[in-house]
């Protein structure tokens, strides 16, 4: 492997790593005491169910502004002493260096911060104030500082109160690889950064996962589908040194790759098959979804991929495909509620595009600056509307009619599909498609700042021209003042956020948690990167290598870091419960799509067809009727598709936004009301109910049972091994086979003693041996589907 070293630059990033992991967590530290008396929750405003943070034993030797101080200032002080001028108290702002060090008070005789002199720093005296009228943060804020945090602030001032700008708004700087003790462990650059951090923590990476575990994880991560038995066998028997890499390459070239990546992109794009409000009419946006799949499979570079979606229509000589891609910004919800005031909702759609773009591509909570200046980040309300104005030229309606395809739209014919849009899988029954796209055909519409963010309160004194938050990167005259200019600005080399946010989200997809765990917030309130230098190295490399997504994914899955086992000792679990250091692989749950797709794939029911109109597989009866208005023709009743549409991959499942597919929501799919870049990870009894009782899972179990029973060359143990392997990708151990065999026998002879299910038992009794076997195997397979391991990768 060719990796360049530069020991000089190693020194520059060392301080970052020198900061103990535990202190990273300390910024979120909250007091919790479980004495048997009343204790108010949220004492320092932490979440009731937030991660438990352990108090560091001692203060760091060197207090760092970015890692120790700013998170405290932002979280507890910025609300009144931050970027929002409107609510700033006492003329003091702590979000800028100038403000924090400036003189305060009537006579300009006091300072919040006097470097090197905590005794004379008002900040220190006020946070230690015993008078409840004077203490900071004030009691009315429901915010408090812990003793540890107070000491940190004190020490920082003592050490000279060194100020640094927010890390995420400084462009990433070129970095060389760190020197590590065990370069043999490293497969590629990623491992150097991970390993260096582990060394500083006194930890070792874990050994490589078993081949069968590794390949299962790889298949799901890159294609969302499990490996087949043949795939497993081929990999297990391939002893060549690049056996693993060959699989990686093959999977990246498979069409399932695009489907897997698209599934995540649909969350981010708040894709739905209905308009999402009130009556929730159907819409046709699936051709856009087909484009996304195709774009991933063709590995269109990320900069183009995003530029087409934001501004495909404004590109010189734009192609039809580029215009189709702009459907991204029409995926927001649209109302058809009779009484709605048109402008109120038109404004809402522009707001949605603004927030979505900022969150997805910049990791900014821009919407917080809609009604007033941002409380935490340097984004003024005016800048919010500057960003908003990029999306405010669309000639669109706020309220639409039944069956209306809202303007702006295009019509696509079969001929066009044949010529240039081959990725659209148009069924024969349809001759042409109407599709929403972006077009700036309301050229005369002016943007004004809306007071309090309300549609009918424009401040007409000043027209707002398109611009971006200058603290991120000023929107200079070099850019056209439209969405194309915005896209150019996003991908400008010195934009500090775009590449970082993108690689972080990709990292999150492969490793479970982003290097910045708040992948939706890179602002002051967001988490700090666990491996800042790695994040920057990846960001720069991604950009320099032409925004090549497949290449980046390949680098991630080839790394030794990725290939570690997920086994964890209790010691390591205690040290790093959320696996931020990556001294092991994360044992993560399959997504809602993967869980169902796995079930269909291993039972040979999966229909591998790409794209086309969304499909309606099984869902429990009555869900649409119960909530619908009762008006005919408006998706009143869910009628499951028959035939192959019942067995398509889950990303094609019809998404009615007011009543989304229940099993997918139960397994943490977002509702698609709004842009979402990070799914929840929960474990609930409702998930157990789905796994135990979903008719589709029973159907899959039965199908697989039939298949193994028809193979007469297999004995019972063979069958169990085969089934177990199909579902979990590994061979069961002897002990497991015995247990499953016991169950098989028990369930076969079971169910005569259960009064409640007397009829079923009687029926079963009457059945012949074959159907008893089928039932027993079906139950066995259902059991295996219900094992924790079956919904886990890694």
């Amino acid at each position: 492997m060719k990796i360049k070293f530069n020991s000089k630059s190693t020194i520059s990033w060392l301080p970052y790593f020198a900061i103990p992991f535990i202190i990273l967590l300390a910024v979120k530290y909250s007091t919790k005491s479980y004495k048997n008396e009343y204790v108010a929750i949220n004492q320092s405003g932490s979440n009731v169910d937030s991660e438990e943070i352990i108090t560091p034993a001692k203060l760091p030797d060197s207090v760092d502004f970015i890692f120790h101080i700013k998170p405290i200032l932002s979280d507890r002080c910025f609300l009144c002493h931050g970027p929002d001028e409107g609510t700033r108290e006492g003329g003091l702002r702590l979000d800028t260096q100038e403000g924090a060090f400036a003189a305060i008070g009537k006579n300009l005789d006091k300072h919040a911060i006097v470097p090197g002199n905590p005794e004379n720093s008002q900040l220190i005296s006020r946070i230690n104030e015993t008078d409840s009228e004077k203490i900071m943060p004030p009691t009315s804020s429901n915010l408090t500082l812990t003793e540890y945090e107070k000491k940190l602030l004190n020490k920082w001032i003592e050490q000279g109160a060194q100020w640094k700008e927010h890390w995420a708004f400084e462009p990433p700087k070129p970095i060389s690889l760190p020197k590590i003790h065990n370069p043999d462990w490293a497969t590629n650059e990623i491992d150097y950064f991970i390993s260096k951090r582990l060394e500083l923590e006194g930890l070792e990476p874990s050994h490589e996962a078993k081949k069968e575990k590794l390949i299962r994880k790889l298949y799901f991560d890159l294609t969302g589908l499990p490996p087949s038995i043949e795939d497993l066998d081929a990999f297990l028997s391939d002893t060549s040194s690049n056996a693993y890499e060959k699989v990686v390459d093959r999977l990246l070239e498979s069409t399932a790759y695009g489907e897997r990546m698209a599934a995540n992109w649909l969350d981010l794009s708040r894709y739905g098959d209905t308009h999402g409000y009130q009556e929730d009419y159907e819409r046709t946006m699936w051709p856009w979804r087909d484009w996304v799949i195709s774009a991933f499979n063709r590995n269109i570079p990320y900069d183009e991929f995003v530029t087409w979606q934001i501004a495909g229509d404004l590109l010189p000589n734009s192609t039809l495909e580029q215009i189709v891609a702009t459907g991204f910004n029409r995926n927001h919800k649209i109302t058809q509620e009779g009484g709605v005031i048109d402008e109120e909702y038109r404004v809402e759609y522009v707001m949605d595009r603004t927030s979505t773009t900022a969150k997805a591509f910049l990791g900014l909570t821009m919407e917080c600056a809609r009604c007033h200046d941002h409380k935490y980040d340097p984004i003024s309300q005016k800048e919010f509307f500057g960003f908003y104005s990029f999306f405010n030229k669309v000639n669109e309606k706020g309220v639409i009619e039944f069956k209306e395809i809202p303007e702006p739209k295009i019509e696509i014919t079969q001929k066009e599909i044949d010529q240039t849009l081959a990725f659209i899988n148009m069924p024969d029954s349809i001759s042409k498609l109407g599709l929403m796209v972006m077009r700036d055909d309301a050229a005369d519409r002016k943007t004004y700042l809306l007071n309090r963010g309300v549609y009918d309160a424009p401040n007409k004194e000043e027209e707002i021209i398109p611009h971006t938050p200058k603290s991120v990167l000023p929107f200079t005259d070099q850019y056209p003042k439209n969405r194309l200019g915005l896209a150019q600005w996003l991908f400008k080399e010195d934009n500090p956020l775009t590449a970082r946010v993108a690689v972080n989200r990709m990292w999150q997809q492969i490793f479970g948690v982003g290097i910045v765990s708040t992948s939706d917030d890179f602002g002051n309130q967001g988490a700090l990167p666990s491996h800042p230098e790695l994040l920057d190295w990846l960001a720069i490399t991604f950009r320099e290598e032409g925004w090549d997504m497949k290449k980046l994914y390949k680098r991630m899955v080839l790394s030794s870091t990725y290939r570690q086992t997920s086994k964890v000792s209790s010691e390591l679990l205690r040290r790093d419960p959320y696996n931020k250091l990556l001294a092991r692989s994360s044992r993560s749950k399959l997504t809602s799509e993967m869980i169902r797709d796995n079930m269909l794939a291993v039972s040979d029911l999966l229909v591998k067809k790409i794209g086309g109109p969304s499909v309606k597989p099984y869902q429990p009866e009555g869900l649409w009727e119960e909530t619908s208005s009762g008006v005919e023709g408006l998706l009143l009743k869910y009628i499951p598709d028959t035939g192959e549409n019942g067995f398509r991959r889950s990303l094609y499942t019809f998404w009615k936004r007011t009543v989304p597919p229940p099993a997918m929501l139960i397994f943490d799919s977002p509702t698609r009301d709004l842009c979402e870049v990070k799914r929840q990870k929960t474990s609930t009894p409702l998930q157990a109910l789905v796994m135990m009782n979903d008719p589709q899972l029973m159907e899959a179990s039965k199908n697989l049972a039939n298949k193994v029973l028809n193979n007469t060359s297999m004995n019972e143990a063979d069958r169990i091994k085969y089934i177990f392997r199909k579902i979990t990708s590994r061979f069961p151990e002897e002990q497991e086979i015995n247990r499953l065999q016991n169950y098989l026998h028990e369930t076969r002879n079971n169910s005569t003693d259960d009064n409640q299910d007397h009829d079923i038992a009687k029926k079963a009794e009457a059945q012949n041996t074959t159907s008893k076997d089928l039932r027993a195997y079906t139950n066995l397979i259902s059991l295996i589907f219900n094992l924790d391991e079956s919904i886990i990768k890694g």
């Binding site: 979440n47 169910d49 009130q278 929960t682 139950n779 391991e789």
Partner: protein, 487 residues
């Protein structure tokens, strides 16, 4: 001993002991779960009884039954008696009364806004002398148990944003529902049933009703552990609850025992505490398979109870049947019970439609409150009745001698509450003689939410969830507890 400690000692210790006796695996599972898994996973029995959970002061109510009247019931036909409107029938709403209030797209185009009074007779009832119309005869009989708030007002003028506002504190989607906030803040009192249970019914007032959306009982950005769980009539009362054909209860138990053993083996090998959490979820699911049908099975209810709730209560899926289920859920200490009854959106044909719609709910609502009372449950159960907005004092569409309609009205409407530490036999707030504006003691949607939280022991300004850097709360940035209606 302070009040809070006393409260806990009285309630939780008893419950803790009771619960630890529950069914198979309860104890085993509780002791098996690694504390680490609790952060994101299942809250064990042991953790739920910790006094800290989210109480800021001793609660008056342990549980809430929210009878949401979806569509916007007309306060003018039900509770807010305005004889002036009948006197001025057909005359235009004076501009001095409207004061530029924005109108929905449905009546904004009308060239006239003719006032119309209720076609239904009003009278005063009980010792409290509360005004109730003839549409609500059963409710009229229990007014001395009710607390009417006549001065509720909202900001939204259309259904989707208005219901979303009531349920989540924001007109735009994405925030957690009220029930989810309670689940998050207070945890469960019952380890066999969902903390936040939802029941839907369709009114007879308007066959084509305004729709509902499942996000109304969604968890928003809170963990999906806190989502509302719909209880439905029919063979699968909770989605995916019933064992598939061919799997008996014995089979299921057997299967779970094997699953648990095999999973624990994995945990021993991989050390992942999530596995233990998953085992606990399976046990909860298994318990729900018994507890939910047991709760839904009303066969053991005596006839006099059905008589009390009305004939409809024998028909699963009706509002009356749901009220009876609400009582059964309350008896089992389900924390937040949310009913939705659709069909109050009476833009036209109001007199006929509201007559039917009122019949749906009048008797059953009154029965529920009396039933809770006779079982000693009303004291610590807060019952709330109300819609997302009120209706206009002027007619929408054609007005004849016997027919008229009303559009949405956000400026004033009536809700009532019972039990849970609100003043019985009390009326709060006043509207003007036109029934258009609040003249005394306005109560905003956020005030209602703050008050409900207060009765449950939560300071609405303190129960927050930090999401994307901001601390969100149910009441957004406003809300005041309406102290005047509290005992």
């Amino acid at each position: 001993m302070d009040e809070i400690t006393k409260h806990f000692l009285n309630n939780n210790r008893r419950q803790f002991i009771k619960k630890m006796g529950v069914g198979l695996g309860g104890l085993a599972v509780a002791s098996m779960i690694d504390p680490l898994s609790l952060a994101g996973g299942h809250k064990s029995v042991a953790q739920n009884i910790l006094p800290a959970k989210a109480l800021h002061f001793a609660p008056k109510a342990k549980r809430v039954i929210y009878l949401f009247q979806s569509g916007g019931p007309s306060q003018l036909e039900l509770f807010d008696y305005k004889p002036l409107l009948s006197k001025m029938r057909g005359e235009d709403l004076p501009d001095s009364v409207r004061q530029g209030q924005r109108l929905t797209g449905m009546t904004a185009g009308q060239d006239r806004f003719p006032l119309v009074g209720s076609q239904f007779k009003f009278d005063q009832y009980g010792q409290s002398r509360a005004w109730v119309s003839e549409l609500m005869p059963h409710t009229a009989k229990i007014v001395d148990d009710l607390c009417f708030v006549k001065s509720v007002h909202t900001e939204a003028i259309n259904h989707d944003p208005a219901i979303t506002f009531f349920q989540t504190g924001s007109q735009q989607t994405g925030r957690p529902s009220m029930g989810s906030w309670f689940s998050y803040g207070l945890g469960s009192l019952n380890d066999n049933l969902p903390t936040f249970s939802v029941l839907l019914s369709r009114g007879t007032g308007r066959p084509v009703a305004q729709p509902l959306y499942s996000r109304l009982w969604g968890n928003g950005f809170l963990s999906s552990l806190h989502q509302g769980v719909q209880f439905r009539s029919g063979k699968d009362p909770v989605l995916y609850l019933k064992n598939p054909e061919g799997i008996s209860k014995t089979d299921r138990r057997l299967m779970l025992d094997h699953i648990s053993e095999l999973n624990m083996k994995q945990e021993a090998e991989f050390g992942d505490p999530e596995i233990g959490s998953r085992v606990a979820q399976y046990e909860m699911a298994y318990r729900m398979q018994t507890s939910v049908p047991e709760t839904m099975n009303v066969e053991d209810e005596p006839d006099y109870i059905f008589d009390m709730y009305g004939e409809d209560s024998r028909r699963p899926g009706t509002y009356a049947a749901n009220c009876l289920l609400a009582r059964r859920l309350a008896e089992r200490d389900v924390r937040f019970i949310q009913l939705y009854h659709m069909g109050w959106d009476q833009h036209g044909d109001l007199p006929g439609d509201i007559t039917n719609q009122s019949k749906d709910v009048d008797q059953a609502t009154a029965a529920l409150i009396q039933d809770l009372k006779q079982r000693g449950l009303l004291d610590d159960t807060l019952v709330i009745w109300g819609g997302e907005f009120g209706r206009t004092n002027y007619c929408q569409g054609t007005m004849t001698q016997t027919n008229y309609g009303r559009d949405h009205h956000p400026k004033c409407f009536t809700m009532f509450m019972a039990g849970g530490g609100v003043k019985p036999g009390f009326t709060y707030g006043e509207t003007d003689d036109f029934g258009y504006n609040v003249t005394r003691d306005p109560v905003h949607v956020h005030d209602i939410q703050a008050t409900i939280m207060h009765q449950m022991g939560i300071d609405h300004t303190k129960l927050t969830y930090k999401h994307q850097g901001r601390r969100f709360r149910l009441t957004d940035v406003s809300g005041h507890v309406v102290q005047d209606i509290l005992t």
